[in-house]
Symmetry: C2
Subunit: 347 residues, 2 copies
Amino acid sequence: MISRKKTKTINIGTVAIGGNNPIAVQSMTKTFTSNVAETVKQIKRLEEAGCQIVRCAVPDTESAYAIDKIKKKIRLPLVADIHFDYKLAIIAAEMGADKLRINPGNIGSLEKIKAVVSAAKERGIPIRVGVNSGSLEKKYKHPTAKALVESALSNVRILEKLGFYNIIVAVKSTSVPVTIEAYRLLSQKVDYPLHIGVTESGIPKIGTIKSSVGIGALLAEGIGNTLRVSLTGDPVEEVRVGYEILKALELVKKGVTIISCPTCGRCKTQMEKVVSEIERKTRDIIKPLKIAIMGCEVNGPGEAKDADVGLAGGNGSGLIFVKGKIVKKVPESRMTSALLEEIRRLI
Amino acid sequence: MISRKKTKTINIGTVAIGGNNPIAVQSMTKTFTSNVAETVKQIKRLEEAGCQIVRCAVPDTESAYAIDKIKKKIRLPLVADIHFDYKLAIIAAEMGADKLRINPGNIGSLEKIKAVVSAAKERGIPIRVGVNSGSLEKKYKHPTAKALVESALSNVRILEKLGFYNIIVAVKSTSVPVTIEAYRLLSQKVDYPLHIGVTESGIPKIGTIKSSVGIGALLAEGIGNTLRVSLTGDPVEEVRVGYEILKALELVKKGVTIISCPTCGRCKTQMEKVVSEIERKTRDIIKPLKIAIMGCEVNGPGEAKDADVGLAGGNGSGLIFVKGKIVKKVPESRMTSALLEEIRRLI
């Protein structure tokens, strides 16, 4: 339903982003990249959670050389995240990084950028121009949306002048409205794929909401080709939230979607218990499945009918729906088991 | 920064919505409304959490008559949520409800709507036309965005023909894209305030994301005048999430905002521990305060400078910033206490 902004397609290892490709979910390791064993372990956990692209910080030579060793043990495309020292970008490219992220705010002179571009060209890997509110070039007094976009565009133009078009762009701010405004502006100016996210959005409890609002608003306007949720916490949670944002917008159809009523003064059954038990027991299902668990006769029958499987609870009993038809009426004590039975039958 | 769609102002008891009024956060009780003591207790908890308008289901005469008793013990405006039986709406109005929510899908004939309108007119209270994907009139085969809007508009026109303009409208779907599309359409057609939300969005873990995406996307486009996050769980959590959505979009400025980096292979300090401790110890602060807690030299100094108070961690030590200036350098063991000290000084 959402009409997506057309962009070029760019390949990050085996993952294509932009064009008509699905929106790729990425994350970043929080281990020392030079600690190959720990980094590989974290990447495997991320991969299991559905992460499609992983980024590692490359703050020193040891980390840059570790990329080769990490790459040999993982399947995900690996992005080298470079700040300050352009030489690390060159080593990272030689070590097999699938993409380089450079920060225009701190990468230095044109000569240095030229050297990075040569390395990327030689390997055929893309560069992400990743502007960030916290590290914008000093000439910009404040990280406004306009400033973030101007910084990104001037760096994109430098790459283009060097004959390099294998580009992804990001303009992240810690402020959600600034992030939204910046990407809206940017998407009108370039047709490169955009990597979207709200930077440094905080602990999961709050960062999940900031990221869902910021990334969600952009995706709802058709903007964004790959996303990263940035949370202070386990990166696996970043991937989970990323997928839930895509699922909310129906941009990915995978696994169970539970429609469940908030309950109110009409609800005469223990719906919350039923919902949490069903959620726990169905969260590993991969097949797309819509389950409605409703507490009364207001929206219950309608939603239950509209779902693949549904339960419309009433006074001491519940109606079980499958593909729009009532299949049985069960007492309250058997609602969860009867619903699970129908779910198992469908998958 | 977000340009908001202009609407009429409508008063719900002492709370004005629409026009230039702030976006009001509402919730709904999950107790039996006829159980006055429990309902009042829950409303008090909601009020403490910042809820501005509360809604109670009115499924029977006992609940309708309870409104008067509940109203005497609370300060929040109370909305009576009516389905099926228009007579309950009339009693609710007589009992002092500050707004009536009726559902066009099940309220019945024109005669019945007329009676409800008379009761609302007499008391000077608004009516919300609250369409919902699960209970759309049967003539619509599927709850598409267009169908939801058509149902809402035809009911709004009925009220208008009866000379009633004290209206709020909602077109909630369980589908986030349908919800977004429906409100986009609706906001072009009416200038009444819109009550927004994603209906039956599920358990907090997932419903928080669905609601943040749906409500956030609409607010980011300037649509929406009051919101309700619908979660299967404690209604206090609905209010918390509602405020976090508004805070994310900077539509409300209250309390602490923590900018904290996700950490990565550059981070040599235990940032996650610092962040969660600071969050825990500052969550009751009411004054707007931006705190940046950052793990390295990439975005650390920039974000720390831009915040009211900031910490840029490095290798075994941290720089403390206040209003853009470095005030001290502390060893890792004292980072949390030094930051808290500056926060206390500021509030």
